[in-house]
Symmetry: C2
Subunit: 246 residues, 2 copies
């Protein structure tokens, strides 16, 4: 039988802290905290609603609210037959334009970025069409490897009209944070998703073998005025990523 002692200790300590955070939020936060401290990792089971209630001495309604939040943030996967598990997959949202970093932070994990290229290049015909630019016009190419908890998970190439980027050095972990700082509000996306075998570059940079497929996500993001602001090509580890849309 699994013991949840370290997890329960961590949550109890948080609950006892004197602040105005609601109880369910303290519990949800502590689960994310436990992941950062490697007390919990993807694939681990956590207590059921009933067990949690008993171990913590709180109502099942409070536990349910905490689990609902963790579920919504993609931290846990609930299955009536099997119990509640820490999610092993990364959700790529096709619903709204959200930043990789924001999404990873929501799950209690640590995002990181290794820049490969941050430069202007002449626009190809296809990308010009997608971004409403002229062929050959300068466009920013932002290429980076994305990490979650120090593991490479995707290679991302973003093409951004150069008029939207004044100082590329200001773009750090998140392009979307930079957009926000320029009062550009990403809102809608269009995506094309396919399954591919890994390229040489994916094998090397994502540290996968040739039996791990790649989820290829091509996405155009538009701001709240309907203007295209980014076209990205994302090679994501097929064993970790799931694209979610509705």
């Amino acid at each position: 039988m699994t013991t949840y002692q370290s997890l329960i200790d961590l949550i109890q300590t948080r609950i006892e802290q004197q602040d105005k955070s609601p109880l369910y939020l303290k519990i949800a936060e502590s689960v994310k905290h436990a992941m950062q401290q490697h007390i919990l990792k993807g694939g681990d089971f956590i207590p059921t609603e009933r067990e949690f209630g008993e171990l913590l001495g709180v109502s099942r309604i409070t536990v349910r609210k905490a689990l609902d939040l963790l579920d919504k943030d993609g931290v846990i996967v609930r299955s009536r037959g099997l119990g509640t598990m820490i999610s092993e997959t990364v959700e790529y949202s096709g619903k709204t334009a959200t930043s990789f970093s924001q999404q990873v932070v929501l799950t209690g994990k640590k995002p990181d970025t290794l820049w490969i290229k941050k430069d202007t290049v002449p626009c190809s015909a296809d990308i010009a069409k997608t971004l409403n630019l002229k062929q050959g016009e300068q466009v920013f190419l932002l290429k980076r490897v994305r990490y979650i908890d120090e593991q490479a998970v995707s290679i991302e190439e973003s093409y951004v009209p150069s008029a939207l980027i004044h100082d590329p050095d200001e773009i750090q972990l998140s392009l979307y944070d930079y957009f926000q700082s320029q009062n550009i509000t990403p809102s809608r996306t269009q995506s094309r998703v396919s399954a591919k075998m890994p390229t040489e570059e994916s094998l090397e940079k994502l540290n996968i073998d040739e039996h791990t497929p790649v989820l290829l996500i091509e996405q155009t993001a538009f701001d709240n005025t309907g203007r295209p602001i980014e076209y990205s090509i994302n090679h994501c580890r097929g064993d970790l990523y799931v694209f979610v849309s509705e």
Copy 2:
């Protein structure tokens, strides 16, 4: 240089028919017709707007309208640098709940279905949760292999609440046609899309080798009252399918 004579002949014959169909529609229809007759196949290039106009003696505006329609239906892929190509991929729409058969017919291709199972089974916990049913309750399992132009392209398992199906024998090529006949209107979908290596069953039924990945699409469809009407698990050939959402 490629000759387009058979295609042009086919379109000219259609144009000369005395009916009230607008010219651009006659052209678009003829391109689909040419695919059915194997005059055109996926990957073939077709004339440019200008060439089409000259070969047919019609205005470029009319040609553009025909190409716009073919583009919208997923029949052609236009690229400013490379020209216009007959699409080799099958688009799986995450935008609206549309039937496989309808989508395939739109592209001028011939859909077919081989039934593997059409029976009621007890509902698992997960599927019960998705379809708002009780665990163990009877649910229809519709399993089939989908074909496009006699080539196997996907394996589809649909779970449908048994209350929605009165006579399974009435379900032929399209579950959605059956829904329509029962005044059930599929409207919204939720999808989870991932990349997988092929299972034994995919290797065999889809006639692919172990280097062809599978695009796994799990989709829940809701009717216009918000009621879940279908949960489907689709194993699609990764070399043919692209999932499209916005």
